[in-house]
Symmetry: C2
Subunit: 587 residues, 2 copies
């Protein structure tokens, strides 16, 4: 299976296309990480992913996670521990982390692209280093120097792994309802008691220690979300077992090789991270990176599903071409790639998945600017773009990827529904992405309720500036204008909808809740139209070798995907309709 | 679990609503099957489904089908055989079949509604009587009197079950490629040799005999689809084992308790059904009924998923209402039904699933008219409507139901992704519906390439007449006009798209292939808008007790689902775009 050659090639194309935009190229800040270095790192990371973890993917799904109700021990499928050791040996966990704590200091964009490859080859497995990375970010932002030395170094090397302990049985979306208690001890530590659920890799046998980042309440905590503090709770402290146990596993539709644990804390020793009652800050550092990665997971799974469907289609003969000239007289039936609908399904996936990949590259490039650019204003602007696009890629990306994988299954007909072709596993593995790390509607509320109005609309202005620059570029180049005309059309509609929504939502907050999900999708289509323009502009002006293919794919997108905004605009225009008028008994 | 009370109530409402349209009410032809009889039969069928087969649903999924590679014997999950016996004891298999062969002679609409209930409670299980019913129809249409006496009676009683053996490894969609041979014997029988795949309930232990309807070629058969004949091949002939064996099972994403068999015929004895080389006729009789039932399966699974999500939502508290007046001061969080987006998801399901149910009722009522009306013209018109709507309910219905179940999962958040709430099984069980009995795109080609042009557009005219009558009724009733205005808008757009498509497709057949799937969805939205008008008209004019709820649901549909046509119209307007311009290496 050489599935990854195509995506790595496309990733490099996109990096060049974004390097070509007028924004300062982020790679400059990363010594030793020029384009060719990034390419060779991606290739070797892909080799490891394909050779070590892809063969464990179906096996892991079938074998699942074992949990011993007597010892509370969790065992991953055969081969997982060895594959994880390979990641460590190759320094893949800390590729983009701070060199002061043992990382390689690579750009975020490298981490994000690697994340696509590792999810595609084994999503369950890739969640362990993914969560660890989130904890590293949280400690980098809010940990003390001592905590960084003690935990970050071991997490970056991969010797220890990390978790996020947020959810409890009575609270998922609404973390203000958290009950877990943290009682301060005389020695400055805390004793934590409570039950957390949905803890990914909450326990396992792949690493020697597990560091939990736990949200809990201090005895004097204010009610609700403003009384949540964050704590480090290690499974082992100086070799001694802490009072943290996995007391059960969830049984899920997919990601079956990823342990989803119930974790009980019973007077477990913990250490405060950051300021008391301000634990949500640490959690949001983890959460934002995690949300981007959720979007990227979908791209990876849709990519491998696409490659699978394409391989199937190239081999399959069925029925005759509608155009007799394309018929193969030497065979009893034609290859199914002569059928327009088979191409339609494949191009739906290709044109949206490449757009989502470009969006992921864009966000990561801005992330790198936000963290490394010498100029404060440039950092702020980049940070604004990251902030506004993160809910977009998480929500629209997970939804579209689910549909894309389903479409790849459809290309294969009955074969696609069997376990033989693995697409059914990709579909099951992807479905959770619409739910975890904040459900998709929570992303929409984050966009509409928080990010749009923030700082007088500064974030959306940063986004609009970039769009306007591209529309302007189209005025000077006729070949580009074919594509920027679409951007102009949609950007105009988005602006007008945004203004109307602001007015409507001011008068009635329920309106914002009612249309937020549609609005997010409208925003997403604008962003995807933009990233197609970025790719097309680079293709035209640099005369890239794959220029024709990129232009054709972009054109397909404008003809067949772009029209989705028409429905969204009309749906939004009926605002909250009669949603709230139904009595509960009428539902 | 009393899930079925709501759907049975809604089914009865719809029967009354269609009875109220100006078309002759089909139940009149069925002595003893008035509305109250139908209701009591549905209630008792639902009781059996809920008490006998629902408890086996998750169990069947987990246990799966066992196949013995030495004896070739197939074993269904524990309890299946006993539950099947309950179906037989209650006469549920032959409820709608010909009384001359032991059936109860009920209307088709009763069978279709029962099919919704039985799929909802256990899709895998319900496929066995479903396939049997298809074979009964084929024999009723094309069997000799002797064949009817010998096979139909046993199939109608449920003692024997039936299969459809079409697909072979090299041919699914394209049945012209069938290789299975049938060699005539001196005694008038045939010897069949070949391998069939995807044979649902191709072998099992629930009944004493299995009757296969097999497509095969006679030695003198013309090439392609015009050389296919149909044969009865029983597993046992007069108690002796025939040379028919299950040599393997498929491993699938869902419907895991339904055996999907590889069936080998090795000089197996068979009997010709109908005319030599005209086997596709028998198959199409089975296929058309099967396609309607595939649409109905989705309605059933979406309904139970909806009921599950609604039950979850009624219990779950999370976050605060956007409207402070709706906040519950006595609890730390509000019930999630105060959140507009949760209602939006539920109403998306409710408004489309009730529309699809109404569409199924409409098709079945027309089916009954087509088979029992004394007037030939009325029969023809009804048959035309059945023919044009069958691909619509199969394709749009299966697609929408898959999305609806996914939306129900979303309502439940993480819980929905676990096996605890079963929605994940409904989603896996439903996914095959877009593929089997002719993929959804095959339905679209059937609509665009066959049904639209047939007999100078007679079928579409029959459909249009019904629509026009409803628009006219709206002119006389202001309350109804709110809804028929939408129908008018869409029907106008559909007419104009249909005419343009006819022109475009004449010039280039690939255009028809490229837009057929979008066109089918546009047609489907028109049909769903119509059936909402039927329900609303009845509610208004009869002042039905649930009038308010029906009007609100219809209004929600017009505001939030109806706009989907906007995208379709624009997508269709780019015709085949650049689909065929991609070289294979560019994909």
């Amino acid at each position: 299976m050489e599935y990854y050659k195509a995506p790595v090639k496309d990733m490099m194309y996109m990096l060049k296309a974004f390097q070509y935009t007028e924004r300062v190229h982020s790679l400059e800040a990363f010594e030793g990480f020029d384009l060719s270095m990034v390419e060779s790192l991606l290739q070797s990371a892909a080799d490891i992913a394909v050779n070590e973890t892809l063969p464990l993917n179906r096996l892991g799904d079938e074998h699942g996670i074992k949990w011993d109700p007597e010892t509370y021990e969790v065992t991953t499928p055969p081969g997982f521990k060895e594959a994880y050791q390979k990641l460590i040996d190759n320094g893949l966990v800390g590729m983009t982390c701070d060199p002061n704590y043992g990382g390689s200091g690579g750009p975020e964009v490298l981490g994000v692209l690697f994340s696509e490859l590792s999810t595609a080859t084994n999503k369950s497995f890739s969640m362990c280093p993914g969560l660890t990375r989130g904890l590293i970010d949280a400690l980098a932002a809010h940990g003390t120097e001592e905590q960084k030395q003690k935990y970050m170094t071991k997490l970056i090397s991969g010797e220890w792994t990390g978790t996020m302990c947020l959810t409890e049985p009575q609270c998922g979306t609404d973390l203000g309802l958290i009950n877990t208690k943290a009682v301060p001890q005389e020695d400055g530590t805390y004793k934590l008691t409570g039950t957390k659920i949905w803890i990914t890799f909450g326990d396992h046998d792949m690493a020697e220690n597990i560091i939990h980042l736990v949200l809990a309440r201090l005895p004097d905590a204010p009610e609700g979300i403003k009384g949540i503090s964050a704590f480090i709770v290690p499974k082992f402290i100086d070799g001694e077992r802490n009072a943290v146990n996995c007391t059960g596993l969830e049984h899920k539709m997919g990601i079956k090789a990823s342990p989803t644990c119930v974790i009980d804390f019973e007077d477990a020793t913990g250490y405060l991270v950051g300021t008391p009652h301000k634990g949500m800050r640490s959690m949001f550092v983890m959460m934002n990176a995690a949300r981007l990665h959720v979007g990227v997971e979908g791209i990876g799974l849709a990519e491998i599903a696409y490659q699978t469907a394409l391989a199937f289609a190239k081999d399959r003969r069925q029925s005759r071409s509608l155009d007799p000239e394309k018929s193969d007289a030497n065979a009893p039936a034609d290859n199914i790639l002569v059928h327009p609908d088979v191409r339609r399904m494949l191009l739906n996936i290709k044109s949206t998945n490449e757009a989502l990949r470009a969006l992921a590259v864009w966000i990561s490039v801005e992330y790198d600017i936000a963290h490394h650019h010498p100029d404060e204003e440039a950092r702020q602007k980049a940070d604004d773009i990251v902030a506004i696009l993160t809910p977009i890629i998480k929500s629209y990306g997970s939804e579209r990827s689910f549909l894309n994988i389903s479409e790849a299954m459809q290309v294969c007909g009955g074969a696609g529904y069997t376990t033989d072709w693995n697409i059914e596993q990709y579909l099951r593995d992807e479905r959770i992405a619409m739910i975890y790390e904040g459900t998709n509607h929570i992303q929409a509320l984050d966009l509409v309720g928080r990010k749009l109005p923030k700082d007088g609309g500064r974030m959306v202005r940063a986004f609009s500036e970039v769009i306007t620059d591209m529309i302007r570029a189209g005025k000077e180049n006729e070949e580009l204008a074919e594509f920027t005309d679409y951007l102009k059309e949609l950007s105009k509609k988005l602006t007008s909808v945004t203004m109307e929504l602001a007015g409507q939502a001011m008068a009635d907050r329920e309106v914002a809740g009612a249309v937020a999900s549609h609005y997010l999708n409208l925003f997403a289509l604008t962003a995807l139209t933009y990233v197609w323009c970025v790719q097309v502009k680079y293709a035209i002006e640099s005369d890239a070798p794959n220029k024709d293919t990129k232009l054709k794919t972009a054109r397909y997108f404008m003809h067949k995907v772009f029209p989705e905004h028409e429905t969204l605009v009309r749906q939004i225009n009926t605002w909250k309709s009669n949603l709230m008028e139904f009595d509960v008994e009428e539902l």
